[in-house]
């Protein structure tokens, strides 16, 4: 499995809206929030899936930008 964590910068007006949207996504979990930023952890099988989810989050209205912080993908390397 591939685990990555990101920091999401949002427009301060849209925090509730963005958090509701993120909750609808599978295997994405909000682990913290500060002022108008979220920290989320994404756990998927492959890196593409993880990248797709990240891209989907980036397109939410009210999300200003996205920052990948960590990305563990040894399993993928091992079994590929």
């Amino acid at each position: 499995m591939v685990i990555s964590s990101l920091v999401i910068y949002c427009h301060s007006e849209f925090l509730d809206y963005v958090s509701e949207q993120i909750k609808t996504l599978p295997c994405v979990e909000i682990v913290g929030s500060h002022n108008s930023k979220f920290a989320v952890v994404i756990e998927t099988e492959t890196t593409e899936q993880s990248a797709e989810l990240a891209e989907e989050i980036r397109l939410f209205t009210g999300v200003l930008s996205l920052e990948l912080v960590t990305h563990f993908f040894e399993d993928e390397v091992q079994n590929s």
Binding site: H11, E13, F14, Y17, T61, G62
Partner: protein
């Protein structure tokens, strides 16, 4: 006989010329005071043409809000206007002042309901003096507004110095503010920090939609 007569003439002409010149000077004198008209008033120029200075609206106002222009108000002599700091317009639902206007200077047709009244738009003109912006829990203009939570809401941001209090900033929303002046009247400062300014609502530019409108953002009443 001749000198006394001359004196009488001089005195009379002096008296007459001074009063008439005062009146004429006042009448034609241009002052930059903005005159806020009763609800439903036409735009300023059309209003000055349509208003025949009959003072019926001033008489009909139950709260004595409407004042009557005098000679010193130049072309506004005889026209109704509001001095918010003295007494604001209380937005009577049955619009007694608009109903009695013989001409359409106060246009009843334009006021389907009281919320469409637009005498002007309130603006916090003195942000430094405004107590709420200084972190003091005042917000009187917010709580006395008849269109509370629509024409004016409180935007919260952190009080920088204490870092554990909140500054409740009154923010006026142009589309709802009727310009009735109740906030300007109630402001506890000597010089009111919130004043009504003449502004046309006008519609927003068509070619761009604010981010805010793209998202159905629940602002205003959370009944």
């Amino acid at each position: 006989m001749e000198r006394r007569d001359f004196l009488k003439k001089g005195l009379a002409t002096g008296l007459v010329t001074c009063t008439s010149s005062f009146s004429l000077f006042a009448l034609l004198g241009q002052d930059n005071k903005t005159y806020f008209r009763p609800p439903g008033a036409l735009p300023e120029n059309e209003f000055l043409s349509a208003c025949i200075r009959c003072a019926k609206c001033v008489q009909a106002c139950p709260y004595d809000t409407l004042k009557l222009g005098s000679v010193t108000d130049g072309k506004n002599a005889g026209t109704p206007f509001i001095n918010f700091r003295e007494k604001p317009c209380y937005l009577c639902e049955d619009l007694p002042c608009v109903k009695v206007c013989p001409t359409d200077a106060l246009d009843i047709k334009s006021l389907v309901n009281i919320d469409l009244v637009h005498i002007g738009t309130a603006v916090i003109t003195d942000r430094e003096a405004c107590l709420s912006l200084n972190g003091i829990r005042c917000e009187i203009c917010y709580r006395v507004c008849p269109m509370i939570d629509r024409a004016i809401t409180l935007e919260k941001h952190e009080q920088e110095i204490t870092q554990k209090h909140t500054v409740f900033e009154p923010v006026i929303h142009k589309d709802y503010c009727t310009g009735c002046g109740i906030c300007e009247n109630a402001c506890p400062l000597d010089e009111s920090a919130i004043t009504v300014l003449p502004s046309q609502r006008g519609d927003k530019a068509k070619h761009y939609q604010y981010l805010r409108e793209q998202v159905k953002h629940k602002k205003g009443h959370k009944k």
